[in-house]
């Protein structure tokens, strides 16, 4: 009886399939459709948007609280013992730091630094990584050998150590930070682009372009590059949180953004001396950093899953196997299947 219902459900599924008009769906459309149903990814986008808006609106909050980011309030902002004031006291929403500055406003201005560094370095790294990867993969030969070795060397180099060195020679500043982080971010993108180019350049459409007399540059950037956009987009989304963490780490070590300009890293560096007396001084900037990087990482993973045509099939296979294993669950599975084969998968994930 139960086997009969399963057959019936399957037959129903195959019958209803031809009713839908067959339409061509582009890879991007499919990705977008899957992404839209991924609640985690949508949530991440919302979080990122909120953080971006808060960062943009930072001056608005300054006029609201009358606490500019660099102003110290020794009288209201510190206790009699000279320690930071707790959240909510004297109109400091998230408390103050060790010299009596408004922590909330400083975290907002820190978000500006983090987002700016994250986006700018990722853009530079993606441009450099894609170009280098295309050149290495397309030309091959000694060009590839030299570039591939160079990429390996950059990837294996202890970057914090070199950042230490550069900070001494050039002095810490925003352009130096962006340069250092970009320099260590392009290699990972480059390696993957190179691998993809190696396989793409053997495809017929490249041969067709070549036989039409297209120049290598035209083939690389107009024929091959559009096919690489999907993996590069995923890599770039995942490179942003890495850059944010990198900037925070440099600032924490005193090699990045310098006081009094706030950055999540240098706020946390100061907070370290006060974690026994003022938990908020550590917890709030840490939470801001963690929420931001987590949102970007979740979004990157979501985009990757949405772009991977295997994902849905792997999940479906897993469900089918589990369904067979557990007999009592079958009725539930069948009712779910009757509602349409696609719905339960998005609800489950």
């Amino acid at each position: 009886m139960s086997i009969a219902t399963e057959f019936a459900a399957e037959a129903h599924a195959t019958e209803s399939a031809p009713e839908q008009a067959i339409e061509g769906r582009s890879q991007w459309y499919l990705t977008w459709r899957r992404l839209r149903h991924d609640r985690v990814a949508v949530g991440s986008v919302v979080v990122i948007l909120i953080i971006t808006l808060l960062a943009i609106a930072a001056p608005l909050f300054v006029s609201l609280t009358h606490h500019p980011p660099d102003s110290t309030y020794p009288l209201t902002g510190t206790t009699a013992a000279g320690l930071p004031v707790a959240p909510g006291v004297h109109g400091f929403w998230l408390g103050t730091d060790d010299v009596g500055r408004d922590l909330f406003i400083r975290i907002l201005y820190g978000a500006r630094v983090s987002l700016f560094v994250g986006v700018v370095t990722t853009a530079i790294a993606a441009a450099a990584g894609v170009s280098m990867g295309l050149i290495a993969g397309y030309f091959g030969g000694w060009v590839d050998a030299v570039l591939a070795r160079f990429i390996d060397a950059v990837l294996a180099f202890p970057y914090v150590v070199l950042a230490l060195a550069l900070a001494v020679v050039l002095g810490p500043s925003l352009p130096v930070i962006i340069g250092v982080i970009s320099f260590f971010s392009w290699a990972a993108i480059s390696r993957i682009v190179r691998g993809q180019t190696l396989s793409l350049k053997e495809k017929e459409f490249v041969e067709a372009a070549r036989s039409l007399g297209a120049s290598p540059w035209r083939i690389m950037f107009l024929d091959i590059l559009p096919n690489l956009l999907a993996p590069v987009l995923v890599l770039a989304t995942l490179a942003i949180p890495q850059a944010i963490v990198f900037e925070a780490t440099l600032s924490y070590l005193g090699l990045g953004i310098q006081q009094p300009t706030p950055s999540w890293g240098n706020i946390l560096a100061e907070a370290q001396n006060f974690y026994q007396e003022a938990w908020w001084f550590v917890v709030f900037p840490a939470a801001a950093l963690l929420i931001t990087t987590l949102a970007f990482n979740l979004l990157g993973d979501g985009i990757r899953d949405a772009m991977d045509p295997r994902t849905e099939r792997v999940f479906a296979a897993g469900r089918k196997r589990r369904r067979r294993g557990r007999a009592p669950a079958r009725t539930v599975a069948v009712t779910a299947a009757a509602g349409g084969p696609e719905q339960p998968s998005s609800a489950a994930s």
Binding site: L164, Q272, N297
Partner: protein
């Protein structure tokens, strides 16, 4: 025979890499105007005569190529130079600060591999289970958490409450294993966890993905069809093949690990090579930083050769050439 030829070639390329790193750091540091270096040494208010004296003493008035020659010949003899401030040998400084760093790296690598590979394998064999979902979220949280934030949070939520309630086993600072093994672990446990977490998260993801791919291969189906037990299929047939990309990644990540060492040592006040270098940055003590950069490069090169050899041992398809 092939192994010896492989080793010789890898060692030669390793020497070239170290030479490039050493030359690059020479350019970075010594190509600065001599006065900047001398001024940071002699102090801001130093008179021109004192400045000139300092420049002469450091040999900064010689042509750049002569300086480079001295620098390289010193390095070849294993001499990393002398600290600007107390004329102490950089070799001695680095040797003194090696034990905390070695303890930190050794413990953290073991923890990181056990947790990373273990959780990865468990997740892959129970794909889509509650454990797998929980682990996947943990991986993302771990990757998103900067090392120093995790360290500070551990100090706040583990170290502080424990010590306030009279439980003094976990401490910051560094005590060597000679001061009692229990005490050593007590001092090192938080740094180990901090350093291992981010890397373990990366390796969980890597080994899970790799094992899931391998479990989809035809030969795994063949092994199952032969009637082998699931345990044999997974641990004898699948895990071994799935670990090869993981091992090759290990060589790359050792560089990143050293960055983590700098941060963790600073957070927990362990001393060690990383913290000494950060302090050297504050005081502009260039020879110490160069020394650390070169030692770090040496470590990465040697570790990579070892990893490549393990790689060949693990995967019989890869021949050492």
């Amino acid at each position: 025979m092939a192994l010896i030829r492989f080793l010789i070639r890898r060692i030669l390329t390793g020497i070239v890499v170290i030479w490039v790193v050493a030359s690059a750091s020479f350019l970075l540091f010594f190509a600065r105007p001599a006065e900047t270096v001398a001024r940071s040494l002699a102090g801001r208010a130093a008179s021109p005569a004192v400045l000139q004296n300092a420049i002469n003493q450091l040999g900064l008035n010689q042509p750049i190529l002569v300086q480079y020659g001295h620098y390289v010949s010193r390095l070849v003899h294993g001499n990393l130079g002398f600290s600007y401030y107390d004329q102490e040998s950089v070799n001695t400084i680095l040797k003194q600060d090696l034990p905390p760093t070695a303890s930190l790296v050794a413990g953290a690598v073991i923890l990181w591999l056990i947790v990373g590979l273990g959780v990865g394998i468990l997740s892959a064999t129970r794909a889509r289970s509650f454990f797998d979902r929980f682990a996947t979220f943990g991986v993302l949280a771990g990757i998103s958490l900067p090392t120093f934030v995790l360290g500070e949070l551990l100090l706040l939520v583990v170290f502080l409450p424990l010590n306030e309630h009279g439980f003094h086993w976990i401490q910051d600072g560094y005590v060597g294993p000679s001061g009692g093994l229990g005490q050593w672990v007590g001092h090192m446990v938080l740094p180990w966890v901090t350093l291992a977490t981010v890397q373990a998260a990366v390796y969980t993801r890597l080994s899970r993905g790799s094992l899931l791919d391998t479990l989809g291969e035809d030969y795994i189906r063949t092994a199952r069809a032969k009637g082998l037990s699931e345990r044999v299929v997974i641990y004898r047939h699948a895990v071994r093949a799935a670990m090869t990309p993981v091992v090759s990644q290990l060589g790359v990540d050792l560089g990143a690990l050293l960055g983590g060492v700098v941060v963790v040592e600073t957070v927990f006040g362990l001393g060690g090579l990383g913290q000494v270098s950060v302090q050297a940055v504050d005081t502009d003590n260039l020879p110490v930083i160069i020394g650390f950069v070169i030692v770090a490069a040496l470590f990465v090169v040697v570790a990579n050769i070892i990893v490549d050899m393990c790689y060949a041992l693990l995967d019989p398809r890869i021949r050492i050439t």
